[in-house]
């Protein structure tokens, strides 16, 4: 049970997928126009992540190593479809405002990344809690980003007026360009913290694998690498001399 709690904390704080690892940026930018949307998207992703982690972990001895990625995708896509149908039935408004980004949860790096790096090599209960932890971490960050954009862009939070009347909403933060600006500020903050930690001689390598470092990460080391990499645990081979990035935390997991 301790293990489960540790996975929860790990996902929410230590390896927060958005703020620390910078994974899954496409939905992060697209749906965070308001705190409510961010919360909805985050919880939807959490449900998919938890269920797919659980099932991949249960099936990990049955799925052959060579076809594991297509198998993961089928499992993830099935849960996404189920969740989408549930949303259509019970929360039609949220479904409408999130639109095409709900089915696009299938290609979210976080889910496939957790399947590959944790669920496929760990027992079901820790995997379930790893999924929930990562999902809640994602939810928390999406809600925060959404809240910032909603406050700046409309002067509201969850639809309630928050700012004094003299506040003039900066509409651009609710629109597409605002998302880039907020993320730019976030990435700069991350660089700043990384620099501080480096100077203080503390570990900084886990921070910022997805988009902040050298952004070929997403494609080189992230998803595409997972699709086409021949060796599952062969993270020490060429092209990885920088010592940062998505596969770093794969290593950390396996050393436990």
């Amino acid at each position: 049970m301790n293990r489960a709690g540790e996975r929860l904390i790990n996902g929410i704080v230590k390896e927060n997928p958005t703020f620390v690892l910078m994974l899954g940026m496409c939905p992060t930018l697209a749906v965070t126009t308001s705190a409510m949307n961010g919360l909805g998207m985050g919880l939807t992703t959490t449900a998919v992540l938890a269920m797919s982690n659980l099932f991949i972990s249960l099936l990990r001895r049955i799925i052959p190593d060579r076809v594991r990625i297509p198998a993961f995708i089928v499992i993830i896509a099935s849960f996404v479809t189920a969740v989408q149908l549930l949303l259509e039935g019970y929360l039609p408004e949220l479904n409408k405002s999130l639109g095409v980004y709900i089915p696009l949860i299938v290609v979210n790096c976080i889910i496939l990344g957790r399947a590959e790096s944790f669920a496929y090599s760990n027992p079901p209960i820790p995997s379930l809690f790893d999924g929930i932890g990562m999902g809640l971490g994602f939810t928390a960050s999406l809600t925060c980003i959404g809240a910032v954009r909603e406050i700046l862009g409309a002067g509201e939070l969850f639809g309630y007026g928050l700012m004094p009347d003299s506040f003039v909403p900066i509409r651009i933060f609710g629109q597409a360009p605002g998302a880039f600006f907020v993320l730019a500020a976030l990435a700069a903050l991350q660089n700043f913290i990384k620099e501080k930690r480096r100077n203080a001689g503390r570990s900084y390598q886990k921070i910022g694998s997805g988009c902040s470092e050298d952004c070929t990460n997403c494609s080189d080391m992230g998803c595409a690498r997972r699709f086409y990499g021949e060796k599952r645990n062969g993270t020490q081979d060429g092209g990885r001399d920088t010592g940062t990035g998505g596969l770093e935390y794969v290593n950390l997991e396996e050393e436990e």
Binding site: A30, T81, L85, L104, V107, F180, A188, N191, C211, S219
Partner: protein, 194 residues
């Protein structure tokens, strides 16, 4: 939806007005990752045009003649993602055998495209907006064209920015994101077109 004028409007709308990266945030990873040099950006753009156009044709046909016929529309997500992954692999093998020159130019980019959410996004948008097959293909092509325009512009700006004096925390990705944000503002101007 199927006459020429509507298709032209769709072409402009999908490529400029609601640009795939700058207003819909699909395909951000290659947009930020492969935009250091104009040449590679153009290569990536062409590969994306090729794959998305092909994928939207295949997905459109499949949806109309298989999924709708057997009333299993809800399987669209599963079917599309598997078909796209298989299609990209197949295109890669086909190009390697038949057109080695083109494979040399596009080959490195193809594997990166499988996981590009723009491809799946276009296929799903075509279905959601109930485009016919021709309109779907035009939408796919236009979306990919919009991606190519955006990535080449960004690569050009990044080449110019390379030797500028930027505060340390803002070096690298933050600057690129700010640039993308400014480009997004510029692209907002196109919304007056239609």
């Amino acid at each position: 939806m199927e006459n020429v004028k509507d298709l032209l409007v769709l072409l402009v709308a999908s490529s400029l007005v609601s640009n795939v990266v700058l207003s819909r945030f699909l395909g951000l990873c290659p947009f930020l990752g492969v935009s250091k040099k104009t040449n590679t950006a153009a290569g990536m753009g062409v590969a994306v045009i090729f794959v998305i156009t092909l994928a939207s044709a295949v997905a459109g046909l499949l949806y109309k003649y298989v999924l709708q016929r057997f009333h299993v529309e809800y399987l669209e997500t599963i079917v599309f993602i598997l078909v796209i992954a298989a299609l990209v692999q197949f295109v890669e093998m086909f190009l390697r055998k038949v057109m080695p020159a083109l494979y040399k130019a596009l080959g490195v980019y193809l594997p990166l495209i499988t996981t590009n959410c723009a491809v799946l996004g276009v296929a799903l948008t075509n279905v959601q907006k109930e485009y016919g097959i021709a309109a779907g293909i035009v939408n796919g092509f236009a979306t990919a064209l919009g991606f190519t325009i955006a990535i080449i512009i960004l690569a050009g700006i990044r080449e110019k920015l390379e030797h500028n004096d930027i505060p340390k925390p803002f070096q690298g990705m933050p600057t690129v994101l700010l640039t993308a944000g400014l480009m997004a503002i510029a692209f907002c101007g196109f919304s007056g077109l239609l």
